[in-house]
Point group: C2
Chain length 234, copies 2
Amino acid sequence: MVFGKSCSQCSVRDAALCGVLADADLAPMAAHGTQRRLARGETLIRAGDPVRLCANIQRGLMKISHTNPAGQEVILGLLWPGDFVGTPFLDGGPAPHDVVALGAVSLCVFAQGTIERTMADHPLMQRQLLSRTLAELGQVRGSLSRLARATALARVAGFIAQTAQRHRADSEDERQIELPLSRGEMADLLGLTIETVSRQMTRLKAAGVIGLPGGRRVLIQDPHALAEAAEDHV
Amino acid sequence: MVFGKSCSQCSVRDAALCGVLADADLAPMAAHGTQRRLARGETLIRAGDPVRLCANIQRGLMKISHTNPAGQEVILGLLWPGDFVGTPFLDGGPAPHDVVALGAVSLCVFAQGTIERTMADHPLMQRQLLSRTLAELGQVRGSLSRLARATALARVAGFIAQTAQRHRADSEDERQIELPLSRGEMADLLGLTIETVSRQMTRLKAAGVIGLPGGRRVLIQDPHALAEAAEDHV
DNA sequence: CGGGCATTTGATTTAGCTCAATCCCCGTGG
DNA sequence: CCACGGGGATTGAGCTAAATCAAATGCCCG
């Protein structure tokens, strides 16, 4: 894959931006992809409905969320550019959760029937999908551990640190990041309330660990102390 | 797969007991399996070590666990007979978590190199593995939602209800189950303390929802009320 | 400039934790 | 057969982190 080459399938200018092509083993897939865009708040997959697609995120973030019987929303995870969503299988059963765009999103959508045939012909591609899914399973189990025992401070600090890591690649200023979520969304993701999230942010700011220049921006003043705070368990 | 036939690879008397053979698509795998037994407390996979095996659980339960910086153990999930553990890939990277036997366990262990070659020749088998892994990802995300918002009562009731569902298949008395975990292990799984788990059990008993005949046994007196309690969110 | 929303801050309440004391099985040995 | 331990489980009495309720502040955008 030549850097700078455009992705013919997805009409993305730089091939590197087309998540799916970043991995050579997944290339056979790209031939069957079609472009789709979502606006903020649009639902791609609704819990309970049969999953009719498999897609790779090119730009923007999505949330996997669940609304419990009491009507509270819980954000079960975020999907970043390069991540897959949905299932390549037609008979994958009903979707376990909602998948919703957090902002403007571009996707490479693959038809399930086609992709399943493609997989049969390209074991390496399927291998790569399995490998990624196993890795994700490990990640999700990691966040279980945070929700089980971490203090509010550790959850918030951990989220900021993790977001910073994701941003590091494509950032002009190493130390300044823009959180992809509102305080309310952070609360839903971390299993806290808006007020508690806000208080912990203030606390980190007061301790000189971070700066809050306004909006969703965070200035990481003391990365070491931030990592330390993220490990603060009861 | 003929019911009642013995599993020649795993020396399990009834083929149906050999988890891996329960699924026809996974049959090619069985030819490469070797039997292994673990005693209670034995560690199969240690977090951080490279994962050298892929196995299918035949009998007994295992826990996926993580010990956080403060030294508290968190149980991230349970593995039941029929479940897979480890990775079929040699380059799967370091294990994200520990995997430990909760009691006596029998496994069908597959060599990674062999299984990877087998997968290349049997796309349906790989397909099945991917499909199972995607399903498990959904399950784990479901438990995230419980840890994020559910009350102590809901966590405990949910665990009992879930265990009952698993037991239903192989139980003589529909209503009586034997919990696979001690109170302490339940606490580590549900993100609570031993005392809180105990109090919620007592509460369910006092409400006539369950009976506690002693040991780890639970008598489910009112399945509907139990399900209701499991949905009790703040 | 002002309205509407997100965020912050404050006061109070509460679910679950901590610490501490039994209790209850259940196996062991006298 | 029964006293004696011992580990898991239960129960009790405060304590605390985070939730809840309520108000104030800041900020974006017309």
